[in-house]
Symmetry: C2
């Protein structure tokens, strides 16, 4: 997805939110905003928003001399979701359609996102989803919840690359990966994380914390963007990308950077931004499972 | 009111809205946003938001080589309100408390504001107010609708300076000025407008269109800010300011630039921005008639 004019105020809003979350004083935040502002003329509107988000967070990390300002937030999310993992796992095991429930829970986990413009009480949202076993979080519109299409893609896949999004969410991703592995044991699974800390996105340590290494090969994408900007990913990642016959992409950042580009991709995320909702013809908080549409 | 961090994303949002209203293409708007961004490091957070708004609109005027990009919008507002002037006037004339009704209608006119962050269907809002004669638009909380305090200030006044806000609204201001003149014929009235076109704010031509010259001396404040930044106002304006024993200030921009500063001022406006609402402990769309609180 290209950068829209309305993304520009949002870059500043995101900067303020991030600075507040990591406890910076207003005058420090203003100095960071000044540096972000000076980068605005460099934005190519054809680039996807995560390219600018990477620049913003590079500025925050450099200015605070802290390579991982969201570390504590990520650890809290991981611990929180790990505690509810057994409960979520039971819900899947009791379901008539285990894979569908695992997909739903996987997407529900995408509520954990500290970069998005909507404010949600993440703990209460997740509890709501898990405590209502009968609740269907999936979107009834097959155009944006292409589950049948997704399962037939899984049936035909031999090598899957799963692009993780946020810490905490990664433990819900594990549930989905476990179901895929159970139903299609022949599939070779890899899971990609960000190459460097960026907002609350997963890095290798979060994937290891979730125990992803027991079911998939963990790979760093080599980039510090909160998305998958192929041009800034490592050769190692691109090799796995090219060898995979199916890509499962979690989260809005990966969607923004990959949709309409190359790749046999299924996107799973919750719509958390009005600009993207408009671009897709969807609504805020819509649950999306959709196939890529290369241009 | 000082500039808050949350004003910074809003400066960009305001720029986009203004550029859209005057029909600029996205790539032109992006170039204007780039120029606005380069000014962000110059913002003093102790300055009031209208100081930055003036800079933004100087950039727009310079870039489009159009000294009055909102001219047509202002003319439309003036024509629209002039058409309903007789009806509004009748409502005041039929009221038990004519001055209160004129104040209410004067503040209602402040709904006409193309710089504010809330979206209102101005025509339908105004029709709603005028077609419901019994409707009290005033805020029931005396802390923010100090009508008794205002009337006693009027009784004691001999020279009033009225700071106008927007085109269109100026015709409602005329109704209020006419009521003040009727009730207190001894009072000497002046009305100040912006020194140069800025957004849809009143300049001398709008005040003349409204026929203000028949009841008050019209004065330019000599500044191009959408507020009253005393340090950038003309000597002629400051002389009248200093000679006036009561100042009536319309609109949020005048409030932002004058509140807590010097002056025996009553502010009348509708709260149209979350940051200001938070600063005042009020809510969006609250109707305000309050006395200045010099620090």
């Amino acid at each position: 997805m290209k950068t829209y004019l309305d993304c520009i105020p949002c870059f500043f809003r995101q900067t303020i939110v991030a600075c507040k979350m990591i406890g910076l004083a207003d005058n420090t935040t203003k100095e960071i905003l000044d540096r972000v502002a000076l980068k605005i003329p460099d934005i190519e509107m054809t680039a996807s928003p995560p390219a600018m988000a990477a620049i913003i967070h590079r500025i925050i990390k450099e200015y605070t001399d802290n390579p991982d300002p969201f570390l504590e937030i990520k650890q809290k999310s991981n611990t929180f979701v790990l505690e509810i993992y057994p409960h979520a796992k039971k819900i899947v095991e009791k379901s008539k359609n285990r894979l569908l429930k695992a997909v739903e829970i996987g997407i529900a986990g995408n509520i954990i996102d500290y970069g998005a413009p909507i404010n949600l009480d993440i703990h209460s949202e997740i509890s709501k989803i898990l405590n209502s076993e009968e609740e269907k979080i999936k979107n009834e519109d097959p155009a944006c919840f292409a589950f049948d299409d997704f399962t037939s893609a899984l049936r035909n896949a031999t090598t899957i690359l799963y692009l993780a999004d946020n810490a905490g969410e990664i433990i819900f991703d594990k549930i989905l990966l476990e179901e895929i592995k159970l139903e299609y044991p022949h599939i070779n699974l890899s899971l990609a994380v960000r190459g460097e800390p960026i907002i609350n996105d997963c890095t290798i340590s979060d994937a290891l914390f979730a125990g992803i290494d027991k079911i998939a090969t963990i790979v760093s994408n080599g980039s510090d963007a909160p998305g998958t900007l192929l041009e800034s990913c490592s050769g190692e990642f691109l090799e796995i990308w090219n060898k995979s016959d199916l890509i499962i992409s979690k989260g809005q950042g990966n969607f923004e950077s990959l949709y309409r580009g190359p790749g046999n991709i299924f996107f799973m995320f919750i719509v958390k931004c009005q600009v993207l909702a408009r671009d897709m013809g969807r609504h805020l908080q819509d649950v999306i499972l959709c196939r890529n549409n290369p241009e």
